[in-house]
């Protein structure tokens, strides 16, 4: 392998057969190049779709009540269901379900929000601290509703970036300003933003749930329950656990509120991961397709290399005969041909790899197409592909070389 004489012999051969070497090299390099680019874009699409689902925590679950649509245990259909604090507590303590975060939303009715005696029209919601995580909100200024606010029923409010832009454009910071909500002053302590710029949810002003229920006569009424479940190793497991969770809490809520078990419309549950799963399946299919095309490309490359090797060996039959007459050993000839094949495929394979990865590195981060984000490729996968191609090229070269060596020296020398 590290026989310098052998290398010199091989370099001589390569130097003097430029076209042959070039063609082999191009077919290998282009195979690798196309594969890496395809895989890169497959990854890019996956990244893009994942990014689209980052707006809310991927494993969040949203529960809100509607009216019943079925008669059940003597209760008429069309009855409005009202969730209460107790539901939250029972789910938390008595059902034995597993979740990471939970929060509540309560929307007070008939309220009026004033700032500097001007009416502003945004949605007011009482909530708990964990909503920030579940909604995937970030803080631009100040802080979010916290547990102390909850315990002390503090009169504080957190507003969105959008409200800050629209209402407090003259101020450096809205922190410390007061909102008059139906006659009660709420101090602004924080400004939040939605990851993914969801304008609807940026309409909201959040205050502590306990304050909202106390000040606006909510009692123990709540409107929404929100949960975030732990992520499992695979999306399938995550989906399965979220479906089990939904089933458990639905069962409880149906019983508690006298809803027919088959009444799907009385208590609504939105489980975005089920939708995400469809997209993940789609990206899975796209990736599979790209792999398929890529592997076909590689196979075409391997066939190309084999073809060239076969022609090369055929063309060199006479030379092989001469070398044998001059004292070359059969294995010496085979290994010389293979050595050359491996060298050429390796050099061109890695050239293709470096070129394509360089291209992805260069243009990848600048690509702005919907559902394609930062196409990139796993180096190990690409590297393995090059190795596979080299091995295939070697095997492809071995058989014609073997056959050529088996040809009788005399016949080889007569070969025109």
């Amino acid at each position: 392998m590290f026989d310098i004489e052998r290398w010199q012999e091989i370099f001589d051969t390569i130097r003097k057969n430029k076209l042959r070497t070039f063609l082999t090299g191009v077919s290998v390099a282009s195979g690798i190049f196309i594969l890496v680019i395809l895989l890169g874009f497959g990854q890019g699409m996956q990244n893009g779709i994942e990014a689209e689902f980052k707006t809310d925590a991927a494993t969040s679950i949203w529960v809100w009540p509607r009216r019943t649509t079925m008669e059940y245990k003597g209760l008429n259909p069309g009855r409005r269901i009202q969730l209460r604090n107790k539901d939250y507590e029972v789910i938390a303590n008595d059902l034995g379900v597993d979740y990471q975060k939970a929060s509540i939303l309560y929307f007070p009715n008939n309220i009026r929000i004033l700032y500097n005696n001007d009416v502003i029209t945004y949605e007011l919601a009482g909530t708990t601290p964990d909503l920030q995580t579940i909604e995937n909100e970030y803080l631009s200024e100040g802080r979010y509703v916290n547990q102390t606010d909850m315990d002390t029923k503090a009169k504080v409010a957190v507003i969105s970036n959008k409200i800050k832009r629209e209402v407090f454009q003259d101020l450096d910071s809205p922190l410390g300003e007061y909102l008059n909500i139906s006659g009660v002053g709420f101090k602004i302590v924080g400004v939040f933003g939605e990851v993914g710029e969801d304008e609807d949810e940026e309409e909201r002003i959040f205050i502590p749930l306990t304050t909202a229920q106390l000040v606006f006569n909510g009692g123990d009424k709540i409107n929404n329950l929100n949960y975030m479940l732990p992520e499992k190793a695979t999306i399938e497991e995550t989906v399965a656990s979220s479906e089990a969770f939904v089933k458990d809490i639905k069962k409880y809520l149906h019983e508690e509120h006298g809803v027919a078990p088959e009444d799907e419309r009385a208590i609504r549950v939105w489980n975005p991961i089920e939708e995400a799963k469809r997209y993940y399946a789609l990206t899975g299919n796209i990736k599979f397709f790209f792999w398929f095309v890529g592997i076909c490309t590689i196979i075409a490359g391997v066939v190309g290399v084999s073809n060239i090797m076969m022609i090369v060996v055929k063309e060199r039959t006479r030379e092989i005969g001469i070398r044998k007459a001059l004292g070359a050993k059969p294995w010496g000839i085979i290994s010389m041909i293979l050595h050359e094949a491996i060298f050429v495929t390796a050099i061109s394979g890695f050239t293709g790899l470096i070129l394509s990865m360089g291209l992805l590195e260069l243009i990848g981060p600048n690509i702005e197409i919907d559902y394609v984000l930062n196409p990139s490729v796993n180096f190990q996968v690409a590297f393995t592909t090059v190795i596979v191609l080299i091995v295939a090229g070697t095997i492809a070269g071995f058989f014609p070389a073997w056959r050529a060596v088996r040809v009788h020296t005399i016949d080889a020398l007569r070969d025109e």
């Binding site: 006479r318 030379e319 001469i322 070398r323 004292g327 060596v405 020296t409």
Partner: protein, 234 residues
């Protein structure tokens, strides 16, 4: 140097078997220059191939410089060829992408001679055949006679015990043929053993001993008065 006893060889041609050599007995001392003659199909090339270990006899014994040549593996045969034999072919058999010098150096490569020494030695042999200035030329840039001289230099570079020439002048005009034979005679004068297969009587006369093959047996084996090729060469 060469000792052959009762050599038989037949080829299978489809269902027929063609008996080419039918019991050859032949021996040759070091320093001889032997012409093997015969019409086409007489078995002279087959004999040379067996002598050159490019082919194997069906029966009989063959001893080269005291070494019995029998049941050789490909690898062993390659070793022996490299050590004992130099080949000169009718169609030259130079490697067309290698220069004259590299062609001459090739057997030395298989003898594992270092590159530098290889080149010096090859150049020396090219000089002996009068082609030193042509060292960097490819075979396609050489005339037929020059190609054959490169081939002879290549055969000699390995310093073989026996030089086997299969119709070395077959593809050359008579003037060039004499030049090549002049070279072969000079090499023989230095004490090298040479076997030349030919069907041209004038070439055979330039050897010291002539063997006639007919239908696979030796019909005549005589010493001849050597005609020097130099007198035909200006």
């Amino acid at each position: 140097m060469i000792e052959i006893k009762d050599l038989h060889k037949s080829y299978k041609m489809g269902s027929n078997s063609l008996h080419v050599l039918k019991g050859i007995n032949f021996s040759c001392e070091a320093g001889e220059l032997v012409a093997i003659m015969g019409s086409s199909g007489s078995g002279k090339s087959t004999l040379l191939n067996i002598l050159g270990m490019l082919d194997e006899a069906d029966s009989g014994s063959y001893t080269l410089d005291g070494v019995p040549i029998k049941n050789l593996s490909e690898t062993k045969a390659a070793q022996y060829r490299n050590k004992f034999l130099g080949f000169v072919f009718q169609s030259f058999n130079l490697i067309n992408y290698k220069s004259a010098l590299e062609n001459v150096a090739l057997p030395l490569y298989y003898q594992k001679v270092a590159r530098k020494e290889r080149q010096e030695k090859s150049l020396q042999y090219l000089e002996r055949v009068g082609l030193k200035e042509w060292a960097t030329h490819l075979p396609s840039e050489l005339s037929g006679g020059q190609k054959q001289r490169v081939a002879i230099a290549r055969a000699m570079a390995a310093e073989p015990k026996v030089l086997l020439a299969d119709e070395p002048t077959g593809a050359l005009d008579s003037k060039t043929s004499y030049e090549v034979m002049d070279l072969i005679q000079k090499i023989n004068d230095e004490g090298n053993t040479i076997l030349v297969v030919t069907h041209e009587p004038d070439i055979a006369e330039m050897c010291k001993r002539v063997i006639h093959l007919k239908d696979g047996v030796i019909v005549e084996d005589k010493q001849v008065e050597q005609v020097r090729a130099a007198q035909y060469v200006q």
